[in-house]
Amino acid sequence: MIKRFWAIYLLALMAGAAAVVAPVASLAQEPLRIEITNGVIEPLPFAAPIFEAETAGSEQLARDITALVAQDLTSTGLFREIPAASFISGVSSFAQPVAYADWRAINSQALITGAVSVNGSQLVVKFRLYDVFSGAELGGGLQFAGTVEGWRRMGHKVADAVYSRITGEAGYFDSRVVFVAESGPKDNRLKRLAIMDYDGSNVQYLTDSATIVLAPRFSPTGDRVLYTSYESGFPRINVLDVASVGRQQLTTEAGEMAFSPRFSRDGRQVVYSLANGGNTDLYITDLATGVHTRLTSAPSIETAPSFSPDGTQIVFESDRSGSQQLYIMPVTGGEPRRISFGEGRYGSPVWSPRGDQIAFTKQNAGRFHIGVMRTDGSEERLLSASFLDESPTWAPNGRVLMFTRETQGATGGPSLYSVDISGRNLQAVPVQGFASDASWGPLQP
């Protein structure tokens, strides 16, 4: 395999052309770039030799951080790691010049080098990214400083930088997800709020499991979580402060039941469903002024609202047509416009942080799907199918969705899955035990 690459390389050199190695023909002429499209994509091969341990005793940390960076990139389905066994030469020192020929020879189009140093509880991680076939660095070297305890976050930040330089998109690895951890038998399920890194690590519990908790939703900055709680005996909305884990009930418009809350993009308002006399409508409460505004007044069910990123519109589900469908209406009020027209029922819509798409749950012919459509309802695409998929949530860069998949039967239970917006790369999120109702938080500063 390597001989053939050398043969092509030498041939191209002799012909006076720039180095060309299949499958990406003109890579040397253009910047190293993955265009994320809906078409079939060949994962970009990269090499990440173990980061240099600059201080004694930091070798394991260097190995762990390097592995985490590689894992983040590989998990996107857009990158493929070249194993160390294939390396012709390694990188013994972060400061040494790169022998590009050695990396071209094994078709490593990107090279990530790094260094780790530990001083007491302080950790410093440095990295450089090289476009191998152009023979130059891609972007400048970066250094992150923090605590040893936070090593995973720094690894994620390195991976986010590599990802964004090569794809042109913001990353999503240094982020957290709030969800419901479930346990026990199906007819007496215990539920508690939990938070974790996007990759399933560092799970911490935010509530106990004394009462039912449902559908937590992150604030835009990730500092608070809205959720529905049965601790009063009736569904009510609580606001929980993530740092202190303190919580209080949200004062909503008076009603029998309040549920399905979401923050506005500036974090100052909450939109939610209120049930009164058996009828469920949408309301907005301004957190600063306490003013409640009624958004819908229909005898149908209106629920699962989600703000547009610019804060001017809301997408929600309603059965006013006779079955659950998706509607968009201005925040200031006005006639909702239906956007779902396919066969089946649509629910739990969520507006992409990029503003261009709505993710949703679709139910048709006994199957559930996660799907996306444009905000005018066009270009509907289904990304998953199973007995019960529901409740999608967007990664902060709008390229990946996480959702709940529940298996059937008495012993069935929910797990979290993620899928690329193109429908590729469906995979389980490795969380122990049952998990549901994920809400993906922002990229952390």
């Binding site: 029998e256 069910i301 109702d437």
Partner: protein
């Protein structure tokens, strides 16, 4: 001897059925066989003497504390109306009881919609009871959506049991 054992089993079964809703009073116990005492201080319902028509046990078993619904529906079937007429009669006779009507849905739907559907079902029961003369101040509604199934298989034989509204009675004020 047989009647004694039957009586014991009946009491045992009713003891369990009194505690099928540990969440109803908020911070309820997670042990389904324990008594239900929540932070509101409302004690579990004494089922009363076996066979006493004024007892909660009688309400649950003889009158029938629940009605079932068709898929996606909150309309009351003729059977449901007959059961509810009996419930109304009992509530009018035993005027020191209050009721919380719980609405439920099966798992074939999204979470929020099922909470709203449960609310519709609970309210349908409430309105029927009111139409039969039960004062509205004695009735409250709550929805559990699909969160509290009584039957756990994933086909219609279980779904049909889960699409229900249960009238849970108790003595005391709801505050």
């Amino acid at each position: 001897m047989n009647r004694y054992i039957t009586g014991l089993i009946l009491v045992g079964a009713m003891g369990l059925s009194a505690c099928t809703n540990p969440d109803r009073f908020g911070g309820g116990t997670t042990d389904p066989t324990a008594g239900t005492t929540g932070p509101s201080g409302v004690a579990g319902t004494d089922l009363g003497a076996l066979g006493d028509p004024r007892s909660p046990g009688y309400f649950q078993q003889a009158v029938g504390d629940r009605v079932l619904f068709e898929v996606d529906q909150s309309t009351l079937t003729a059977t449901a109306q007959a059961t509810l007429a009996g419930q109304a009669q009992w509530l009018l006779t035993n005027s020191d009881y209050l009721a919380v009507i719980e609405g439920h849905a099966d798992e074939q739907g999204t979470r929020e919609y099922n909470v709203a559907l449960g609310a519709r079902r609970a309210n349908a029961v409430r309105e029927f009871l009111i139409s039969q003369g039960v004062p509205s101040s004695r009735l409250r509604t709550v929805s559990y959506g699909k969160e509290r199934p009584v039957a756990v298989c994933s086909d219609e034989s279980c779904y049909g049991q889960n699409r229900r509204a249960v009238t849970v009675i108790s003595i005391g004020t709801l505050g």
